[in-house]
């Protein structure tokens, strides 16, 4: 389901003054910026299919505050502490003195109006409270049902303006929802917004499914299904709910990911006890073998420019990370040190690779540069695995299980701080973050 968005910058065509307020993303976690996100007033109260514009103004402010707060870079001030109520006139001329008294550094405000076609316009403004300057503004036109996405886009605008990096709030998570006894686990594909809203199951649980990943267009998911006792790679079309195996191969196919263009898949296939990495051109069904070592080569992931693939191999005795050119040439090991290195995934920014480092009874999420330098540990658990990157390469989501406990989804800032557990209706594993939505 696509929600058409019109970026109505022309609607609010005043160039904001160049203010200096800025979050330092490297030290920002320890010093989160206090912000105020008061309920957005309804300048022309009206009903929409999703509630009145005044109600939407309250809910949109809550979504924005939650988004920015979840990053760890911002600290939304509790609305109970506010000393002023925002009127429609205040949106363009905020009462900066009142916001200074609660020590808000930034004020995010705006208003919601109903459009004649049943849709809404969210006008989103951010101000530097102490400088008394406007930081940014943008209008978002959407359907009434799309109000949450408008709120996420406003939060992304503010995040981007204050950190200098692109946002990630208007994005989704596909993952495996789990329930039942360990020996007969029921696993289902499920999707939700990155903040947990809009949760929905995509499969019934009849077939065991694993490792879903989004296409670059966010319209398809590739995953592994044991349908018919033939474990192999499948595609799910989000628009039509159509599910299709990508082909009938000699052995088990698994560990799929899309190429950055979305036109091909890279995955593993096990033939006669030997697992290698292959690509499949989706349109032509042409299969290409990239590795031919006798070991296990799996968990391939493309660099964002499509020129390289990181994967794991046990050719050296135990699982380690390797990088190769996209045609399979130039394979070289990049991970060393204690323990095993597995399940690598390339950052959408290209500068880092996240992976599972394990040994000595612990499983951690680490990051490493593609040349093998700068390895850094972000988490430490009984079993942390299955890392996935936020669209801006700033946050990593992963699956955490305690000893004997069920898995759940967690996220952590690239600094290693701000570990947070996501709420899911059932247990959760194998998360995969979408790109920013269109």
């Amino acid at each position: 389901m696509r929600i058409p968005f019109i970026f109505a910058t022309a609607l609010l065509a005043v160039t904001p003054a160049a203010a200096q307020l800025r979050v330092d993303i490297n030290s920002g976690i320890s010093q989160p910026m206090p912000i105020a996100v008061p309920a957005m007033p309804a300048s022309a109260p009206a009903n929409t299919a999703a509630g009145t514009t005044a109600e939407l103004g309250v809910r949109i402010a809550e979504v924005i505050a939650n988004d920015l707060g979840s990053s760890g870079l911002f600290r939304p001030i509790a609305p109970a502490a506010y000393t002023t109520i925002v009127t429609p006139a205040d949106v363009l001329r905020p009462q900066f003195a009142a916001w200074r008294t609660v020590a808000a550094q930034a004020l995010i405000t705006g208003n919601v109006t109903a459009n004649p076609d049943g849709g809404i316009t969210l006008a989103c403004y951010a101000y530097d409270v102490f400088g008394g300057d406007e930081l940014t503004r943008q209008g978002f036109v959407t359907t009434a049902a799309g109000w949450r996405r408008a709120a996420h886009k406003c939060a992304d605008l503010v995040y981007s303006r204050l950190t200098g990096e692109s946002g990630y709030f208007d994005s989704r998570i596909v993952y495996i929802s789990e329930t039942g006894p360990r020996s007969k686990r029921i696993k289902r594909l499920a999707v939700m917004d990155q903040d947990g809203a809009g949760h929905r199951f995509l499969t019934s649980g009849q077939n065991l499914v694993l490792t879903p990943r989004f296409s670059p267009s966010q319209q398809q998911i590739t995953y592994m299904s044991f349908e018919g006792n033939r474990p192999r790679v499948w595609l799910y079309q989000l628009g039509t709910a159509q599910q299709q195996a990508i082909g009938q191969f000699q052995g088990m196919s698994f560990a799929p990911r899309f190429s950055p263009t979305g036109q091909s898949l890279v995955f593993s296939m096990a033939v006669g006890g030997n697992t290698d990495i292959y690509t499949l051109d989706i349109a032509s069904k042409r299969l290409t073998r990239l590795t031919s070592q006798p070991g296990i080569e799996t968990s391939p992931s493309y660099s964002p420019d499509g020129s390289k693939i990181v994967f794991e191999s046990d050719r050296g005795g135990a699982q380690q990370l390797y990088v190769m050119n996209a045609d399979g040439t130039g394979q070289s090991r990049i991970s060393f040190g204690d323990g095993r290195a597995a399940s690598p995934v390339w950052s959408p920014r290209g500068d880092l690779i996240a992976f599972t480092r394990f040994g000595g009874g612990r499983f951690a999420i680490n990051v490493i540069r593609p040349d093998g330098s700068g390895e850094r540990q972000l988490t430490n658990g009984y079993q942390d695995e299955a890392a996935t990157w936020s669209p801006n390469g700033r946050v990593i989501m992963y699956q955490r299980s305690g000893r004997g406990g069920p898995p759940s989804l967690w996220s952590v800032d690239l600094s290693g701080q701000n570990e947070r557990k996501l709420r899911t209706p059932l247990d959760g594993s194998d998360p995969a973050w979408s790109p920013l939505l269109d």
Binding site: R182, L210, P231, M252, T275, E312, Q319
Partner: protein, 179 residues
């Protein structure tokens, strides 16, 4: 670990057992067969043993008969290993002998891993284990055309615990009748 409560089962029950092992389309894979599968089946007190010559009272060619004669339907592996050790070779040898007596029986070897590995690697490791068991059976004369394999990675543990004893039980291949 696997005490077998041997009991009579009728031919009709055998058919049920075999049917339960056959892959069903559009369905979840069958869980590993319970260690005491025959006793879990409803017993028919009026059942007649088809071959009175069988001293153990089992229906010849049944899963219970297979387990009884081979000693086990499964073998264990060391951590991150797919080496078929001596105990495993002994079990697989007897499985092959039984399969030699029933040449029409086809089998599926399931490969499994414990939870102390990453998901995708463990799928490959389960495949290696299933292949290793298959290769050993084939070397003992079982036609490869009769042997299917499937890996469940760490998705279908048998033991629930989060301790080495449980992980050891879960690092296994299981020979199921039918494919």
């Amino acid at each position: 670990m696997y005490t077998r409560h041997i009991s009579l089962i009728s031919v009709a029950t055998l058919a049920l057992v075999v049917a339960a092992c056959a892959p069903k389309k559009q369905d979840l894979p069958p869980p590993p067969p319970p260690a005491t599968a025959p006793t879990a089946q409803p017993q028919n007190p009026g059942a007649t043993v088809t071959d009175p010559a069988v001293s153990n009272g089992l229906v010849p060619g049944s899963l219970a008969d297979f387990i009884a004669q081979a000693g086990s339907d499964r073998i264990r592996f060391a951590y991150d290993s797919y080496e078929v050790d001596e105990t495993a070779r002994s079990i697989l040898t007897r499985q092959a002998q039984w399969l030699g007596q029933y040449p029409s029986v086809r089998i599926t070897v399931e490969g499994h891993a414990d939870e102390r590995g990453t998901r995708e690697y463990n799928l490959a490791l389960g495949d290696r284990r299933a292949q290793a068991a298959k290769n050993f059976l084939a070397a003992q004369g079982v036609a490869t055309a009769r042997i299917a394999t499937i890996s469940f990675g760490k998705e279908r543990p048998e033991a629930d615990g989060a301790d080495e004893a449980s992980y050891a039980i879960n690092r296994r291949s299981v020979t199921t009748l039918g494919n």
